[in-house]
C-alpha cells in the first residue's frame, strides 16, 4: 500500500512539474498570443465594453455601464443584426429544453422537500410504497440531476452553439425530437422508480431499458452541435465551445458504460457506480455550467475574460483530474486501496483547474463588482461561479482521508453536493435563463421584483440548507467515529439541523415557484411591457442606425 501511494505521489508530482515546464515554455515562446483574439470572438466589432443585461430596467443598465469604466465605441450594427438571426435559429429547441427544465425543477423541489421532511417526520405519508423515503429521495435526485440541471444545461448549450460558431443552428429539429424523447424517458423512468422498479444504484436508478431513451434523446440533441461545427464560420473556438464539445463526448461514454446491463457485479459495480456518479457532476454538469459562465460573465460585464491561456489549463486539467476522483466515495470501503488513493490524489489535484477557472471568472468580475448591485443575471452567474470555487475546494479537502472518515456516511456530504449542483450549476442556469429568454421571446421579464424574490429566497434558503447540513453532518460524523458515543446520539443530534434544512429547502422551493410562474408569464408574453428596455434589443440597433 505504501509503495502504491509513494508511486502515485511521485507520478502526480512528475506530471505537475512537467505541466509547469510546458507552461513556462509556452509563456516564454508567446504561445498564447492567439488567445486574445479568441477571447474576443464572442463580441461583435466595437461591442467590447458594452454591458448587457436584459433582465433589468434601463436605469440599472446605465448604472452598470458607468461602473464598467470602458471607453465606448459604436458596436458593429451589421454583426448585432446577424446575431438576432443566430438566436432565432436556435429558438425552438432552446425554448423546449429550457421550459421542460423549469417544470421539472418545481416537481423535483417538491420531492426534495418531501424527502427532507420524512427524515425528521418518519410517520409522514407512509401508507403507500410509492411515497416511502427510499423512493422519494431517488426521484428527487433524478428529477433535479437529469431533468432540471441537465435539460437547462443542454438548452443553454443549444442557444450558445450558433453564437459561439457565428453560424445559424443546423438541424435544430433533431434537438427538438431529442428533448421530447428525453422528457418521455425521464417521466417513465420516474414512474418506474416510484413503482419499485429501480435498478438500485445511486444516480442510476432509472431502469436501463428506459435509460436507452435518454441516450437516444441526448444523441439527437448533439446532432446540431456537430452539424453546426462543420459549417462554422469562425476560426477560433471560444472556451465555452470546448466545454460543450467535451461534455457531449463524455456523457454518452459515461452513461452507456454505467447502464450497460451485467457488466459489473459486487465491489466492482460499486467502483463503477461512484466513478460514474461523480463524473456526471464533473464531466457533464460542470462543463455545461462552465460553458455558460465563460460566455455570460464577459458578455454581461462587457469585458473579455481575464486570461484565455488560463482557461486552456483549466479545461485540460479538469478533464484529467476530475475523471478519476469518483472513488473518494468509497474511502474505507472494501475496494483496493490503491484505486482509492488515486482518487484522493486526483481530488486534491483538482485545485489546479479550480484555481485557474476562479482567477478567470472572479478577476474578470472584480473591477466591475458594482454591477452586481444592478444586474440580477450577473448576481446569479457570479454567485454560481463563486460556489464552484468553494464547492470544489471543499471537495478536495473532503477527500483527505482524515476529513472523509468524519464526513463520510453523514449529511455533510449532502450539503456539499448541493453546494456544487444547486449553488453552482443551478445558479448559473438561473442567470443564463434570465439572460436568454428575453432574446428568444423579444419580451422582457415583466416583474423585476420577482427576479429579486427568486434570488433572495433561493439564497437565504440555500444558506440555511447548507450550513444546517454542514454543521449537523460534522457533529453526526464526530459521534459516528467515537466508539464511546451511542448510535442513538448520532441520530438524535441531527434532528434540529434536519428541521432547519427542511425550512431552507422550502424557501428554495418557494423561490422556484416564483421563478416558474414568472417564466410562464414571460413565455406567454404577458405582464407589463417595459418600453424603454427595447433599446438594447438588436431591433433597436437597427432603428437607431436608420435614424442616423
Amino acid at each position: 500500500m505504501t509503495v502504491n501511494i509513494a508511486f502515485l505521489l511521485a507520478m502526480t508530482l512528475l506530471i505537475s512539474i512537467g505541466g509547469l515546464f510546458v507552461l513556462v515554455w509556452a509563456l516564454a515562446n508567446d504561445q498564447f498570443s492567439v488567445g486574445k483574439q479568441a477571447a474576443r470572438t464572442i463580441f461583435a466589432k466595437g461591442e467590447l465594453g458594452h454591458v448587457e443585461d436584459q433582465a433589468t430596467p434601463q436605469a440599472d443598465r446605465e448604472a452598470m455601464q458607468v461602473s464598467s469604466h470602458h471607453q465606448l465605441e459604436e458596436a458593429d450594427a451589421e454583426e448585432l443584426y446577424e446575431r438576432e438571426f443566430l438566436d432565432r435559429s436556435s429558438r425552438a429547441p432552446t425554448l423546449l429544453w429550457l421550459s421542460s427544465s423549469v417544470v421539472w425543477l418545481v416537481l423535483g423541489s417538491v420531492f426534495g422537500v418531501l424527502a427532507s421532511l420524512k427524515l425528521h417526520m418518519p410517520e409522514l405519508m407512509v401508507d403507500h410504497a410509492a411515497m416511502t423515503f427510499g423512493r422519494v429521495r431517488p426521484v428527487h435526485l433524478n428529477m433535479v440531476a437529469y431533468s432540471w440541471t441537465s435539460m437547462a444545461g443542454v438548452g443553454v448549450g443549444i442557444w450558445l452553439i450558433p453564437r459561439l460558431f457565428k453560424t445559424p443552428l443546423v438541424g435544430g429539429g433533431f434537438a427538438v425530437a431529442g428533448g421530447i424523447l428525453w422528457n418521455i424517458g425521464l417521466f417513465l423512468g420516474i414512474i418506474a422508480v416510484l413503482a419499485g422498479f429501480s435498478d438500485g444504484l445511486e444516480w442510476l436508478e432509472i431502469p436501463w431499458q428506459l435509460a436507452v431513451l435518454l441516450v437516444i434523446g441526448g444523441a439527437l440533441a448533439a446532432v446540431p452541435l456537430i452539424l453546426t461545427v462543420i459549417k462554422r464560420r469562425v476560426q477560433h473556438l471560444y472556451v465555452s465551445a470546448w466545454y460543450l464539445v467535451a461534455a457531449l463526448v463524455w456523457f454518452p461514454m459515461l452513461y452507456i458504460t454505467a447502464n450497460f446491463p451485467n457488466l459489473f457485479d459486487g465491489v466492482q459495480q460499486g467502483t463503477m457506480n461512484w466513478w460514474f456518479a461523480h463524473n456526471v457532476l464533473g464531466l457533464w454538469m460542470t462543463p455545461l455550467g462552465l460553458a455558460a459562465a465563460y460566455y455570460l460573465i464577459p458578455k454581461i460585464t462587457g469585458s473579455q475574460i481575464y486570461s484565455y491561456s488560463l482557461s486552456l489549463i483549466g479545461f485540460w486539467s479538469l478533464a484529467l483530474f476530475y475523471s478519476q476522483v469518483g472513488l473518494h466515495h468509497l474511502i474505507g470501503g472494501p475496494v483496493p486501496s490503491w484505486v482509492v488513493t488515486l482518487s484522493i490524489a486526483t481530488s486534491v489535484m483538482m485545485i489546479i483547474p479550480v484555481i485557474a477557472v476562479a482567477i478567470n471568472h472572479h478577476v474578470t468580475v472584480a473591477p466591475h463588482w458594482r454591477m452586481l448591485l444592478h444586474s440580477p443575471t450577473l448576481r446569479f452567474v457570479e454567485l454560481g461561479a463563486i460556489s464552484y470555487t468553494l464547492s470544489s475546494l471543499q471537495g478536495s479537502i473532503e477527500a483527505l482521508p482524515w476529513v472523509n472518515t468524519i464526513t463520510h456516511f453523514t449529511h455533510f456530504t449532502v450539503g456539499h453536493a448541493h453546494l456544487g449542483v444547486y449553488a453552482f450549476i443551478g445558479f448559473v442556469m438561473f442567470g443564463s435563463i434570465y439572460f436568454i429568454m428575453p432574446r428568444l421571446l423579444n419580451w422582457e421579464w415583466p416583474y423585476k421584483w420577482a427576479i429579486s424574490a427568486h434570488f433572495w429566497l433561493a439564497f437565504i434558503g440555500f444558506f440555511l440548507y447548507f450550513w444546517a447540513l454542514t454543521i449537523g453532518g460534522w457533529i453526526q460524523g464526530l459521534l459516528l467515529v467515537d466508539p464511546a458515543a451511542s448510535f442513538q446520539a448520532s441520530v438524535e443530534v441531527t434532528i434540529p439541523y434536519l428541521v432547519t434544512r427542511s425550512v431552507g429547502g422550502t424557501l428554495m422551493t418557494l423561490s422556484h415557484i416564483v421563478f416558474a410562474t414568472h417564466f410562464w408569464i414571460a413565455l406567454r408574453r404577458q405582464g407589463p411591457r417595459v418600453e424603454e428596455a427595447q433599446q438594447l434589443f438588436m431591433r433597436g440597433w437597427r432603428r437607431k442606425e436608420a435614424q442616423a
Binding site: P122, T132, G200, Q268, N273, S323
Partner: protein, 222 residues
C-alpha cells in the same frame, strides 16, 4: 473543424484512460477473488425476493453494508457491526448495496446482531414500537389487519399503543421475505486476509472479536 475533433478526441481519450484506471485494472485485480465457503451458500428464493424489496424500497439510502477497518475508526467494531468487509464478501451481490449514508446503522451483520423474526416484523411495522428514538419510516403496507389469525399467518407482536383498536396485524409475504433477507446478512465468518494489501494486527483482532459476536440487539448495537 480539426480543432473541434482534437478536443473531442482528447477529451474522450482522457476518459478512456480514467476508465482504465478506475474500472478495468481493479476488475482484473479482483477477478481472482474467491469467496469464502460460508459465503457460497445459495440464497433461498425468499431471501432473493427480500433483497429485491430492500432495493426497491431504497433501504440503501440510509443503511450501509460495509463496516470500516478499526485502523480507520474503531467505532464500527465497537458497535458490533463486524469485521471490515472484503471484496470477496460481495461476490454474488448485484446490484451492490454498499451504501453511502448512515442515517441508520450499518446492516452488514444485522442477521447476527438481531436474529429475532418478531423483532424485525415489529420494527418494520413501526420502528418506534421497538426503538423509541428511531427515525426510520414505518412500512404499514407490508402488513395487513385481520380479525382472526390463522395458523399459517405470522402475527406481529406489538406494544398496546401500536396495535389497531380491534383485530390483529399480520405480516405479508413481502414482509417475511424482507426479514429473511436481513437475517441472511451475517458475515461473521472469518476471512483469510483483509484487503489485498492490509494484513494488519488490528484487523486480526477484529476477526476474533466478530466471530464471537452474537445477538446483541439494536439497543446495545447503538
Amino acid at each position: 473543424m480539426t480543432k473541434a475533433i482534437a478536443i473531442a478526441a482528447g477529451a474522450g481519450m482522457i476518459l478512456v484512460y480514467a476508465g482504465l484506471m478506475l474500472l478495468v485494472v481493479p476488475s482484473i485485480q479482483l477477478s481472482g477473488a474467491k469467496p469464502p465457503a460460508e459465503a457460497q451458500t445459495q440464497h433461498s428464493a425468499e431471501e432473493i425476493r427480500g433483497r429485491k424489496l430492500y432495493v426497491s424500497l431504497g433501504c440503501v439510502y440510509c443503511h450501509s453494508q460495509q463496516p470500516r477497518d478499526p485502523a480507520q475508526t474503531p467505532a464500527d467494531r465497537e458497535r458490533g457491526w463486524g469485521r471490515p468487509s472484503v471484496p470477496e464478501d460481495y461476490t454474488y451481490d448485484g446490484p451492490h448495496l454498499l451504501g453511502t449514508m448512515r442515517t441508520g446503522p450499518d446492516l452488514f451483520n444485522i442477521g447476527a446482531r438481531q436474529p429475532s423474526v418478531d423483532w424485525h416484523l415489529a420494527h418494520l411495522y413501526n420502528p418506534r414500537a421497538v426503538v423509541s428514538w428511531s427515525t426510520m419510516p414505518s412500512y404499514p403496507f407490508l402488513f395487513r389487519e385481520t380479525d382472526i389469525v390463522l395458523d399459517e399467518m405470522q402475527e406481529v407482536h406489538l406494544p398496546e399503543e401500536f396495535l389497531p383498536s380491534e383485530g390483529h396485524i399480520v405480516a405479508t409475504d413481502d414482509a417475511m421475505a424482507l426479514v429473511k433477507y436481513m437475517l441472511s446478512l451475517d458475515h461473521t465468518y472469518p476471512v483469510e486476509k483483509l484487503t489485498a494489501e492490509e494484513p494488519e494486527e488490528e484487523a486480526d483482532e477484529a476477526e476474533t472479536e466478530t466471530s464471537s459476536l452474537d445477538a446483541t440487539g439494536e439497543g446495545s448495537a447503538s
